[in-house]
């Protein structure tokens, strides 16, 4: 761990450093929890919620931290991290939608093979009227 | 004069690249036009090669070594292209075989693949690049160009056996390329340079650790080249590949096997020749032994095979084995003789590859027809569209050509094969020079080699004669249809062999000069290291990131 502390970090004014540090810690925690969810949760439909946490919030925290940090070191507003946010927002839904659909219909096809489920059985809603 | 002579060095790579790109653009169905362009390119290449051949043997460049700084950066930083006698010779050989293969492909093969013409030109660019580059990594790049193009050409006209052969060929070459990279990387780690001449300079003054890296790197690198030159036990892909390849491609493959040998020769003599290290002695011996094993394997294979394509493959293995052993031997006389052998055997085996298809037409008329229709199934144009004149007395021509090839491959008189073997034997027996009697100069390895070469000649006689008798003297041989475009290339290659025989004196004198230059690496090194960049490049001072 020692080399982590010797990182070549530029000195930052406390007004920036403290929020950056907080954001980093928060982001780290959320990321860890998200990944833990992916690892620990028992089935796919639950697991997919884990990464969703860190993809949005974790990324957000780190990006803001990064923006603040570089704005401090470069002494100008650094906002290009917003692009990453934008891109993540644009791409993440696509992946999870397709994955969910793939999972749903794979399960359905498997059930179909077992006990002849049909396309209307794709979802089991809790309170289907 | 010098300026334009210098630019000429570039052409063997650039011409094919440009022509290839041009041919890609013509992705229509205008076969005739594409062929014409391709032929123009190849002939231009031939002219260039001959010009370089002449230049390297004249006084235009100091010591006949022409160097070119690509991108105007001096060695060892930029990439240097170097043409010396050996490179020019190989360039010419390549251009000749390419011309023959191309003309041969006119009737049938050039139509059987979409991008035959572009790939063909790319292949030439790769081979030529490998001959003239003076940079190890650049050599890798050109090897890859060459290999990639050869994969493409090998796969012309999808047939299961071709696919199977390619599966081997491609994977083995990919692995060999990995070895190549590992070797180059280690050499870079050891010497901190990629330029071969600079490497030679630095290799002379290395500390222990660098030496270790260099030697391991060189060993791994050597495996890559040895695989390409089909050393036993790394060369089993070769007969299969040759047997499967389309004849013009096969002819080019014959040349490509020699590229491995060429590089070994170049690096070996350039970098490792002057060093009295254990590596040199051991690996020299190892190379000779490996060459001999290859030779023996080729002999056995040749004896045992029935199929013409595989026979050609084993002939190529035999010639590789001979060359490897000769390179390992390293004496100037031997190298000179080996070069003669290289020229003669390459031309002959290439001619043989081209002949195979024609001969198959005699053998199994029905099978040949079937193959033709199978091809026709997928070919754009009608393959029977008459191209050129059908030559009379096809049978006699084929017979003569076959005999000539067989004679050269077996090393029987009167053609160049005999001269080549004679010079090789002579050099082996008199390594110290002309008839200097020294019992110990010709060691047991030389004797083994001599015996093996004789045996391989014998095997070639037996095997080829068996085949020839069965084919040409069989009762159901049918006179094949043969066109001028198919007969001409074969005749061209054989005519060259014959003229090599008649002009053996001048040719071997030239090769002696080549070999002696090779044995004076300082000529090459000095030339490469001393060439200066064209001054006055705009210095970009105002550059802002």
């Amino acid at each position: 761990m020692s080399e982590l502390l010797t990182a070549s970090m530029t000195d930052l004014s406390p007004w920036l450093a403290i929020p950056v540090a907080l954001l980093l810690v928060l982001g780290g925690l959320i990321t860890l929890i998200g990944a833990l969810g992916l690892l620990r949760l028992p089935n796919f439909f639950q697991r997919i919620h884990g990464p969703a946490v860190f993809i949005t919030v974790g990324t957000g925290c780190f990006l803001i931290a990064s923006m603040l940090y570089f704005s401090g070191t470069e002494e100008r507003p650094v906002v290009h991290e917003l692009l990453i946010t934008a891109f993540v927002l644009l791409t993440a839904p696509v992946t999870s939608m397709l994955l969910m659909r793939a999972a749903v219909y794979r399960n359905l096809r498997a059930r179909n093979a077992r006990n002849g489920a049909s396309s209307t059985d794709a979802y089991q809603f809790p309170d289907d009227e | 004069m010098r300026f334009w002579a210098d630019q000429l060095i570039l052409l063997p790579i650039l011409l094919p690249l440009l022509f290839a790109a041009l041919l890609v653009l013509l992705n229509g169905r205008r076969q005739q036009l594409k062929f014409a362009i391709n032929l123009t390119g190849t002939l231009a290449l031939l002219v260039t090669a001959i010009a370089l051949f002449w230049l390297t043997d004249s006084e235009v460049w100091p010591n006949g070594v022409g160097a070119y700084l690509a991108a105007n950066w001096v060695a060892p930083f930029g990439i240097v292209l170097v043409v010396d006698r050996l490179a020019a010779l190989m360039l010419t050989l390549c251009a000749v075989i390419a011309t023959a293969a191309l003309v041969f492909s006119y009737r049938r093969w050039s139509r059987s693949g979409v991008h035959f013409h572009s790939l063909f030109q790319f292949l030439l660019a790769g081979i030529n690049g490998a001959f003239i580059t003076g940079d190890l990594f650049n050599l890798f790049v050109f090897f890859e160009i060459m290999l990639a193009a050869s994969y493409g050409l090998l796969l012309l006209g999808l047939q299961p056996n071709r696919i199977r052969a390619s599966m081997q060929y491609v994977v083995i070459n990919l692995l060999a390329s990995s070895f190549f990279l590992i070797g180059v990387a280690l050499i870079y780690a050891a010497a901190g340079t990629l330029n071969m001449a600079d490497l030679a300079v630095r290799a002379a003054s290395m500390d222990d650790s660098e030496r270790l890296l260099l030697e391991v790197g060189a060993a791994i690198l050597a495996i890559a080249f040895l695989t390409k030159s089909a050393m036993w036990p790394l060369g089993f892909w070769l007969p299969t590949t040759y047997a499967a390849a389309a004849p013009p491609v096969g002819a080019m493959l014959v040349l490509m096997t020699k590229v491995g040998v060429y590089v070994l020769l170049r690096l070996w003599l350039l970098v490792f020749a002057d060093q009295e290290t254990s590596l040199q002695a051991i690996s020299g011996t190892a190379l000779v032994v490996a060459g001999l094993l290859t030779l023996a394997f080729g002999t056995i294979g040749l004896l045992g095979s029935q199929e013409l394509g595989r026979m050609a493959g084993f002939s190529a293995i035999i010639s590789s084995g001979t060359l490897l052993a000769a390179v390992g031997y390293g004496e100037q006389q031997v190298v000179s003789a080996a070069l003669f052998y290289l020229l003669s055997s390459t031309l002959a085996v290439a001619a043989f590859m081209l002949l195979i298809e024609l001969i198959e037409r005699i053998r199994k008329p029905s099978a040949a027809m079937l193959a033709l229709t199978m091809e026709a199934f997928a070919i754009d144009n009608d393959p029977e569209e008459s191209a050129g004149v059908i030559i009379p007395a096809a049978m006699a021509f084929l017979g003569l050509a076959f005999v000539a090839c067989a004679l050269i491959i077996a090393g029987l008189p009167p053609l160049s094969g005999f001269v080549a073997k004679f010079t090789l034997f002579h050099a082996l027996l008199n390594p110290a020079g002309m008839f200097i009697d020294n019992l110990y100069t010709a060691g047991p390895l030389a004797w083994t080699m001599l015996a093996l070469i004789i045996l391989s000649g014998l095997a070639a006689i037996i095997s080829l004669m068996r085949f020839g008798v069965r084919t040409f003297w069989s009762t159901d041989a049918t006179a094949p249809r043969l066109q001028l475009t198919e007969a001409m290339p074969v005749s061209l290659l054989l005519a060259l062999c014959i003229s090599m025989t008649v002009l053996a004196g001048p040719v071997s004198a030239y090769l002696d000069r080549t070999a002696s230059a090779l044995h004076q690496p300082s000529l090459y090194i000095d030339r490469v290291m001393s060439i200066t960049a064209v001054p006055g490049v705009v210095i970009n001072e105002g550059a802002t990131p």
């Binding site: 439909f45 884990g50 969703a52 946490v53 927002l89 999870s96 939608m97 749903v104 289907d128 | -």
Partner: protein, 165 residues
């Protein structure tokens, strides 16, 4: 105008993108960015068949703020559930009947829902305009339906389907 600038919003975004990427507003970059912002949409126009119409900028801001709050709230919930939830999760699919038809509106909705931890968009159930949604820990399905229909769908309809009858 229409011919040279098929989608002004996109062009503006691209110019912004270019400037942010280069982190500069020098004239050279502005010029280049402008060229790109005009040229690229023209080039890709054939591949983007659906036109976009947007109105009511204030609704957009309100929506964004609400979405952000929702995201953080759910994030906290989900994190708690992952860490302390153990096996007591009630993960369910729910069906939400939608009135929103505009594909772009749906897309934004999908973005918000997926960005909100704890909910994942599955698909618009074929043959209907109902959304299948997967909820991480379901307590009350109706709450979800209401929340989405009022807080998210309504503004989106306003934004994207204003001119629609």
């Amino acid at each position: 105008m229409k011919r040279w600038l098929p989608s002004p919003l996109l062009s503006a975004f691209l110019l912004l993108l270019w400037l942010m990427l280069n982190q500069s507003i020098e004239p050279a970059h502005l010029l280049l960015g402008a060229i790109l912002a005009i040229a690229v949409p023209l080039l890709v126009a054939p591949l983007r068949p659906t036109p976009v119409r947007i109105s009511r900028p204030f609704t957009i801001i309100r929506l964004i703020i609400y979405a952000l709050i929702e995201i953080f709230r759910s994030c906290f919930n989900v994190c708690t559930l992952i860490v302390f939830g153990g096996g007591r999760l009630n993960s369910q699919f729910i069906r939400i009947p939608l009135d929103l038809r505009d594909p772009h509106g749906l897309a934004v909705l999908a973005c918000i829902i997926n960005s909100t931890p704890g909910t994942v968009w599955v698909e618009i159930i074929p043959g209907s305009n109902d959304l299948a949604l997967h909820v991480f820990d379901l307590h009350d399905a109706h709450w979800w339906v209401n929340m989405i229909k009022t807080r998210l769908e309504k503004p989106l309809i306003d934004i994207f389907e204003q001119e629609a009858p």
